[in-house]
């Protein structure tokens, strides 16, 4: 049955995905959200794209807000094209018709206009007003029914925009084909915008809350990663070849390297060498098998300078096309936006080895912390499926069993391999030591390996016999 439905391509990133393929032509939808949530932007973004595809749009305002103010605010957005207004998209105010003559007069005017303009999409901004103008929900029900019937007959898609809270049992909700809720709320001190397909008649939608953002280009929807990638896009074939970690001793102990297309968590306290491990792993990238560093801490310049201290020439790797760097400061991020940025970069550059430094960047961005495990599961599964060998750093208070368990206990199960890093001391020297906690399908030698970076003179090893600024206090 479903294959006969004609879907509209909205070109609103992510929207068609959560709608299960897009708005259905000839259907009616409610777009609901408080003022400021972005309903008007979303509806106009859809309208301008439909106009570009040759549709005629009738945009009716039932609000006491002037059209030139609307055009002024829309003109700051990339999708707005002034030359389409009045030609492909007609904006009419029927505020007065509704207020003075009521809903039945409104239906009459709309019918006449739909026919006159040859409309293929009708947008009604201010359904709340339509409800307020009458005391009877029956009238609103009739209004929606008549308009919907008329529009569906002519193949016209209808969007009702309303700031009213429409519950599941309200007549509008029961009558329309779909309900899209835009929600802007305050979580802690940050504003979070999320969208939900509250009703989708005749088609499967992506359930739950999906983050969205309003950019200069308009609205971008980020489908919840674990909902979209509930299963990875390709079958995982678990290859048995190995990828060199860059640390000879480690590779020798774990059967020749990290399993290809696997995910490795490098855990340990701050300063234990996790970032260094990652930089050393990137060192082996080539233009044919390129790498990506997806970081939250050091800016690319500082990362390059840190690498230089380890004799890893990041700039040369970048210049040769063997390495790309993406840095997102650990500020206010949308967790799914990060994931799509990462996956897009991996696919666009056919990345073979990936370093994520570190997982806290995702953990901090999940406003709903209960999502983290499912999110990381979806992300690591997808990375495996697209043949990426991933190293993720994960900072813990210390490398002890209780500290590792303080991380969500399921989290480490998501990784094929877990390597613990800690500062160890031997022969008067502190060195960054690695303990293999697990490696997928491999036996390994349970011993501490020194993180030695080939060619590096510093090598992450600190000689305690040298005098330091803090004198001999560090030997106590």
């Amino acid at each position: 049955m479903n294959q006969t439905l004609t879907r509209l391509t909205s070109h609103v990133p992510g929207l068609d995905t959560i709608l299960g393929g897009g708005l259905i032509a000839g259907s009616s939808y409610i777009i609901q959200g408080r003022p400021g949530a972005g309903k008007t932007i979303l509806a106009n973004q859809i309208a301008f794209e439909q106009a570009r595809q040759g549709a005629k749009i009738l945009y009716i305002t039932l609000l006491a807000e002037s059209h030139d103010r609307l055009f002024q605010s829309l003109s700051t957005l990339d999708f707005y094209e002034a030359e389409r207004v009045g030609k492909d998209i007609t904006y009419l105010s029927l505020f007065r018709t509704l207020r003075l003559e009521g809903l039945s007069a409104l239906v009459d005017v709309l019918r006449a206009e739909l026919a006159r303009q040859g409309t293929s999409m009708l947008i009604l901004d201010g359904l709340l007003n339509a409800r307020e103008s009458t005391h009877s929900t029956l009238d609103v029900k009739n209004f929606v029914a008549e308009l919907q019937g008329h529009a569906a007959f002519s193949g016209c898609t209808v969007l009702f925009l309303t700031s009213a809270r429409i519950d599941d049992s309200s007549p509008e909700h029961t009558m329309v084909d779909g309900v899209l809720q835009l929600d802007e709320e305050l979580l802690g001190s940050r504003t979070v915008r999320r969208m939900r397909v509250a009703k989708s008649r005749g088609s499967a939608s992506l359930g739950g809350l999906h983050h969205y953002a309003i950019h200069d280009g308009g609205i971008v929807v980020y489908p919840r990663l674990e909902a979209l990638f509930a299963r990875p896009s390709k079958a995982d074939h678990a290859p048995d070849n190995r990828v060199l970690s860059g640390v000879h001793d480690l590779d020798a102990r774990i059967g020749g390297g990290l399993p290809a297309s696997s995910a490795t968590a490098v855990v340990g306290p701050g300063g234990s060498g996790k970032t260094s491990f990652g930089l050393n792993f990137l060192r082996l990238a080539t233009p044919e098998k390129p790498a990506l560093h997806f970081g939250f801490y050091e800016t690319p310049a500082r990362l390059a300078s840190k690498a230089r201290a380890l004799d890893v020439d990041l700039d040369a790797l970048v210049a040769s096309g063997a390495l790309s760097l993406i840095w997102n400061p650990l500020t206010e991020n949308i967790v799914d936006a990060l994931a799509y940025q990462l996956l897009d970069a991996v696919q666009a550059r056919r990345v073979d080895r990936l370093v994520i430094d570190g997982l806290a960047g995702f953990a901090r961005a999940t406003v709903d912390e209960h999502r983290l495990i499912e999110f990381l599961a979806a992300l690591t599964n997808q990375l495996r499926a697209i043949d990426v060998t991933t190293v993720c750093t994960w900072e813990t208070r210390e490398l002890s069993a209780p500290a590792l368990n303080a991380a969500p206990p399921e989290a480490l199960s998501l990784f094929d391999n877990v390597i613990g890093m800690q500062l160890d001391e031997a022969d008067g020297m502190i060195y960054q030591g690695m303990k293999v906690i697990k490696v997928r399908d491999s036996a390994f030698t349970p011993a501490v390996t020194k993180l030695i970076i080939p060619n590096s003179t510093a090598g992450g090893v600190v000689d305690l016999s040298l005098p330091t600024a803090s004198g001999d206090a560090n030997r106590s």
Binding site: A64, G86, R96
Partner: protein, 130 residues
């Protein structure tokens, strides 16, 4: 005393212009779409018509064309005030006495109306400077 017909589907605009132009000494009639404006114009024979572009039933463009096609009404100057179609309207300059891009300064409209009504000798007596 000059008579102005103001045509706009947005009641905010007709309410404001009606109040504002009455205070300036004009007789003001209001219509909310091109078709009812045409009837109103036949009836009140205004000195100037100030119209929006996008309206139900009949657009400002169609209204201006209908007026030009009616011998008794063809002489009435039409001012188009539009937020988005200024450029399009300027291509059909013969239909309009002037084109104002919304939002415009009220003083600009006043100056324009004074000019158009003085040409027909019906400017309001009380001509204070904007």
């Amino acid at each position: 005393m000059a008579t102005i017909v103001v045509v706009d589907d947005e009641s905010l605009i007709t309410d404001f212009l009606s109040f504002f132009l009455k205070a300036e000494g004009y007789i003001v009639h209001v219509a909310r779409d091109g078709r009812s404006a045409l009837e109103l114009i036949r009836e009140v024979r205004p000195d100037v018509v100030v119209t929006d572009f996008m309206m139900p039933a009949m657009s400002g463009f169609e209204l201006a064309q209908a007026l030009r096609a009616t011998p008794q009404l063809a002489h009435i100057p039409v001012v188009l005030a539009s937020a988005a179609q200024g450029a399009t309207a300027k291509l059909r300059a013969e239909l309009f006495a002037a084109v104002l891009d919304k939002p415009y300064a009220p003083a600009r409209l006043l100056a324009l109306l004074r000019e158009l009504t003085q040409a027909s000798g019906t400017a309001p007596d009380d001509t204070h400077e904007p």
